[in-house]
């Protein structure tokens, strides 16, 4: 433990790479548009993720400076919520429901199939960059499971065959 701390002191967390100019402009646009809202941080993080697909570490520093928060506070919020991601996702995010109602209809088997078919674990992105696989706890489609969300499209009664058809067709 002590040694770990010493190592951390010698090699502190590297400063986040500043944002590329295009990204910076997009993040600033979001901040300017939403900063007046009471409790603006979550709407801003949503705005950034909508625009860029993720919240890059460089955006954290910028948001913190603009909202007069510490980087730690913003980082703490980003990492608290499962939905916010700090790395660029594949072209489409595929959320697979892991909750009880879908479990009762074979979600675990579908999960194994999906991981094998895509060749990734949860949070992973396929080698061709098409899909990022994420777990989700309930899509509210509990009478028609197992369910998944591909982008913003909800699918119910997803069998292994239907899964293959979905990931084969979408691009």
């Amino acid at each position: 433990m002590k040694r770990q701390l010493q190592e951390q002191a010698i090699r502190p967390m590297p400063a986040a790479r500043p944002l590329a100019e295009g990204q910076r402009a997009e993040v600033m646009e979001v901040i300017e548009r939403l900063r007046a809202l009471p409790g603006a941080l979550l709407p801003i993080l949503h705005g950034v993720q909508d625009a860029l697909g993720y919240v890059p570490p460089g955006a954290v520093a910028l948001i913190a400076a603009e909202l007069n928060l510490t980087r730690a506070e913003v980082h703490g919020v980003v990492t608290f919520y499962h939905y916010f991601r700090t790395t660029r996702p594949g072209r489409q995010v595929l959320q697979l429901c892991r909750a009880e109602a879908c479990q009762a209809l074979g979600a675990a088997a579908l999960e194994r199939h999906a991981k094998q078919r895509l060749g990734v674990d949860f949070h992973g992105t396929t080698a061709d960059g098409r899909y990022t696989l994420e777990p989700v706890y309930c899509l509210g489609n509990c009478a028609c499971g197992p369910s998944l969300m591909l982008g913003q499209e909800l699918h119910g009664r997803v069998s292994a065959e239907r899964f293959d058809a979905l990931v084969g067709a979408a691009s």
């Binding site: 009471p38 979550l42 919520y81 939905y83 909750a99 309930c138 509210g140 489609n141 009478a143």
Partner: protein, 517 residues
């Protein structure tokens, strides 16, 4: 002459292909020169029949379902636009027994109307409760809600009127109305169905709450897993502003009420009210100590009413028809109706709004038709992931907050997740602990650490490593979680774990039985 047909835009209907069916019907009608007027309604909640297409025939609405893409030409051949016979014809929609035997109060309009048409809403008794409320003193509105016996439909079942009374009685320049639309419990979708299928009723209910307690700003905290509900709410709010149902001059009364939707970000714990408020303030969704109650110090430190979607959506009816009308339904101290949600491994999954007092068995078999797989139902988890697993021997318990608690259950939000006899209850118990570990906000130790230890202990128990000792340890750990946690996540996680262990002990002994054989 044009024909009116209804094709749901509800997310579950869409998940089963409603969009492509709608497109195919439009294309086929054009090809045949039939003029259609298509209304994209909410779902009737009979999900095994989705996509459920309705035709406005001379005798009323006639249902066809489940309609698949390949059924569309045949439906036209049979003359379904005139309500003609076809193998998928279900008869008059209102006559389908599943629907006919319900008591649809809160869900009266869902599936019937165009959710985004304010005119349709007004033509179906919309805003009548609000108009009455505008003519009443705040204390009288609160009294009507109290007298109706309405209790928080989010699961905790706290009397709604008492909450409102506290906020009304707390002086402040700014008060808030917050709607908890973070419907994170597996097996629940009634909030989603209201928001997608009748969003104006939620807006009306929240506006009435604002009038009752003197609040001018409302927020709907919606989970981000519900993009369809998000679009519906935003469209409905815009329409309500355009027609002065919201804003500086609600229905010409000179009273103000503003409303905004805020998105959550995938944290289950934000369904806990204080955690939700933290999140709305732009912070980590860590729970707060209580007291102070949100009714006294809530959002941004101001007095705040925080209720679930169904609670607000039920208020307009109470103000329209009166407290006595609503109170007529139900049993004991559980008054009114609850929209039960039949989910998981169930043949006829969907929404069943019934007065309290209906038994689990009626819901599972008379409505649900048994399991989807056709195998015997072994366990039902009632009230979300923190609810107990109920074994078949207890299916005759009435769904009433107090009566159901006597068998160790929790009615909660009215979600029923059905499992057949292939379920491994030890795995379900383990999942409950795993879920708690993943979703703990980290504020209190029993929940944060206990859940991870719980997973390990269950693993050891199932593996048969000193099983008696492990079981004692698990029970002790559950005791600590129950009594030592700050909120319901840690406090109720033992409920699925212990109910699985108590009712299905054999599932925890499989490795040992296997080894002995």
């Amino acid at each position: 002459m044009s024909v009116r047909i209804y094709i749901p835009r509800d997310a579950s209907a869409l998940s089963l292909g409603a969009e492509s069916v709608a497109a195919a019907i439009a294309a086929e009608a054009q090809r045949r020169g039939i003029e259609l007027r298509v209304t994209r309604n909410g779902s009737r909640g009979l999900f095994w029949l989705e996509p459920l297409v309705e035709v406005e025939a001379a005798t009323g609405r006639v249902a066809y379902g489940p309609v698949r893409l390949e059924d569309v030409p045949g439906l036209f051949d049979a003359g379904f636009t005139e309500g003609a016979r076809h193998p998928l014809r279900l008869g008059p929609t209102e006559g389908i027994p599943y629907l006919k035997r319900q008591e649809r109060l809160t869900f009266a309009r869902v599936g019937l109307t165009d959710p985004l048409s304010l005119d349709d809403y007004l033509a179906h008794d919309g805003c009548r409760g609000l108009r009455n409320a505008l003519a009443m003193a705040p204390a009288d509105i609160v009294k009507a809600v109290t007298d109706s016996g309405l209790r928080g439909r989010g699961g905790a079942a706290f009397p709604t009127g008492i909450k409102w009374k506290t906020v009304l009685g707390t002086e402040s320049a700014q008060k808030y109305i917050v709607c908890n639309a973070d419907e994170g419990d597996s097996g629940t979708f009634s909030d989603r169905m209201i928001m997608e299928g009748d969003p104006f009723v939620l807006i009306e209910g929240m506006t009435i709450a604002g009038l009752a307690v003197g609040a001018t700003q409302g927020y709907i905290y919606l989970r981000c897993e519900y993009p369809h509900a998000h679009r519906a709410l935003n469209a409905a709010i815009a329409a309500a502003y355009a027609r002065h149902c919201l804003g500086a001059d609600v229905l010409g009364s000179g009273r103000r009420f503003d409303l905004e939707v805020r998105l959550g970000a995938g944290a289950y714990i934000c369904g806990e009210e204080t955690s939700l408020l933290e999140s709305l303030e732009g912070k980590r969704g860590q729970i707060r100590f209580k007291p102070p109650l949100p009714a006294i110090k809530g959002l941004f430190g101001q007095p705040t009413v925080i209720n679930n979607v169904i609670s607000y959506a039920t208020v307009p009816l109470i103000l329209d028809r009166g407290a006595e009308f609503y109170k007529e339904y139900g049993m004991g101290r559980s008054r009114g109706t609850l929209p039960f949600q039949l989910a998981g491994n169930i043949k006829y999954g969907g929404l069943v709004e019934k007065a309290f007092g209906v038994t689990l068995r009626e819901l599972l078999y008379d409505y649900g038709g048994g399991s989807y797989s056709g195998r015997p139902i072994r366990a039902v988890q009632v009230g979300g992931p923190l609810g107990a697993y109920i074994p078949a021997a207890q299916f005759d318990a009435p769904m009433d907050y107090e009566e159901f608690a006597k068998i160790g259950g929790m009615v909660g939000h009215g979600g029923l997740v059905v499992f057949d006899d292939t379920v491994d209850m030890a795995a379900q118990a383990r999942f409950a602990m795993e879920f708690c570990a993943a979703e703990s906000c980290g504020k209190c130790t029993p929940c944060r650490i206990g859940s991870t230890r719980g997973v390990e202990v269950i693993d050891h128990l199932v593996a048969g490593q000193q099983p008696e000792k492990q079981e004692a340890l698990l029970r002790d750990l559950c005791e600590t979680l129950t009594h030592g946690s700050l909120c319901a996540l840690g406090g109720l996680t033992p409920s699925p774990v212990l109910s699985a262990l108590n009712h299905f002990p054999e599932d925890f002994r499989k490795a040992r039985i296997g080894a002995a054989a």
